[in-house]
Amino acid sequence: MRLGTVRFSEAVLKEVEALFARYPVKVNALLPLLHMAQRENGGWLQPGWDSYIAELCGTTLNHVRGVITFYNMYRTSAPGKYHIMVCTCLPCGLCGGAEVMEHLEKRLGIHAGETTGDGMFSLEEVQCLAACDQAPLMVVNEDMQKRITLEQIDRWVEDTRAKKA
């Protein structure tokens, strides 16, 4: 994609201005700004957004790229329509999180970090979602499914696939 071809809509730019107003310097708003860019673009940062955002908050391209690659949540490839996060960290991992992850990988035929061929599901292994008392859990987009069982997962995958068909 050519530089300069990506940009926020006028409505979002107003939101950006309001965001900048809450920080002493524009670059402070970099994290929320990148979240905004992802929200507006199907959950990921297409090529060109890094330099557009750099320009918006008056910083260097490599600063923005450094930030994007430092944090887990910024994606530079498209997530599936249903982005699934599974915590496999200490309490969750030992309370079934690891099995949930393994099961999903088998069921969807992808590894963590990948997206199914039809673009329906993407799978991400994450660390602690601050719901350790509800383990094991699976977060689909923003919806947290607590104390989930493997049967529930199967049903959910089938239902979701059926919905599309």
């Binding site: 430092f70 996060m85 309490p91 350790c132």
Partner: protein, 422 residues
Amino acid sequence: MAEEKLLLLKNIRQQGYGGDYASYKKTGGGAAFKKALTGMTPAEVIETVKESGLRGRGGAGFPCGVKWSFMPKDLPGPDQKPHYLVCNADEAEPGTLKDHVLMLGDPHMFIEGMMIGCYAMRSTHGYIYIRGESPHAIRRVQAAIDELYKAKLLGKNILGSGVQLDLTVHPGAGAYICGEETAMLDSLEGKRGLPRSKPPFPAQSGFNACPTTVNNVETLANIPFILTEGPKAFAAFGSENNTGTQAVSISGHVEKPGVYEMDMGHNLKSILEDFAGGVRGGKKLKALIPGGASAPVMRADEIDVPYDFDSLMKAGTMRGSAAIMVFDEDTDMVEVANRTIRFFNHESCGQCTPCREGTFWIKNMIRQFGDDAGDEALLSLVHRAAGNIIGTTICAFGDAVGGALQGFVQKFPEDFRNHFQS
């Protein structure tokens, strides 16, 4: 079941409590901020918090009032740097969920504490750093702040006092290290979250190089009570050097995982048995980690101790952010060590050599045990490498990794030996 002591969760435990400003006000909320703003000088507020003995609930347990008193006393004039209060709501320590419960259930309580803190430290803008993985918490806290703006309790000339205060929710983007206060400030500045070398301390040079204090959600949630009921009433809870109540998160192999509030210094064994209903499925306890992934593990026979900062430190571990993770008799501690080091390796910011290279190396070594290819030399190497990360890095993350890993090796060598090459 033991009775909870309710100070932080008193509203949340009420059936049908809405968590909005109207409900909060009905329970007497907002009075503390009003009292501070109209009847106390900033110095008096700080003195009151000092007297209460409140210690930071984020992990290090530093006295909150003392921390506040490090901030410059003068009023920031036009040519001086502004002061900032940043609320650490990143809560990414594995096993910790109490701040989430507070933010989702009763956001106004800690926000009021934060407003009081801003007044006391003459800060006109506070930031609440909430981890980006928790959109619900972000929305909830944002909604609470919107309510306060509507009620004219935030903005310019609050309650006719001439005081100005703005609060902003700042979303993180997935980095455990941003829970470290200086890394959080970097992140708030729009940078990679790298812990800073101290000095300078944040109270001299924090957010955008201005005087800044960082407080945990739970710490701030205690402030309204301290102001309305007085520091003595607060210190009546808990024990001498560990005053107040605490919200403890329990997860892992227990009957009733969740968040419970109790006195500081409540017996750890009692927390497990009386609050969390004991080990799941009637099994025996093998070990527990008392303070999040960063705390060294305790064996079942070691847990008959008061649960507070000082007692746990004496026991060779730490209270940290009060996240108890329980492991039953079937648990393989090599697997626990494996998940712990994978987490730490993933979350190291990478700037300090010992932590960057050490977590990578130890992860590989623990994996070798997982493949049943360990031996005595490798075990002592894990111990040595872990020890080499302790005290040699910029932030406490290195100490946490080293301490936690050494704990597993020291306390459960037999579990590792089960994975020796036969």
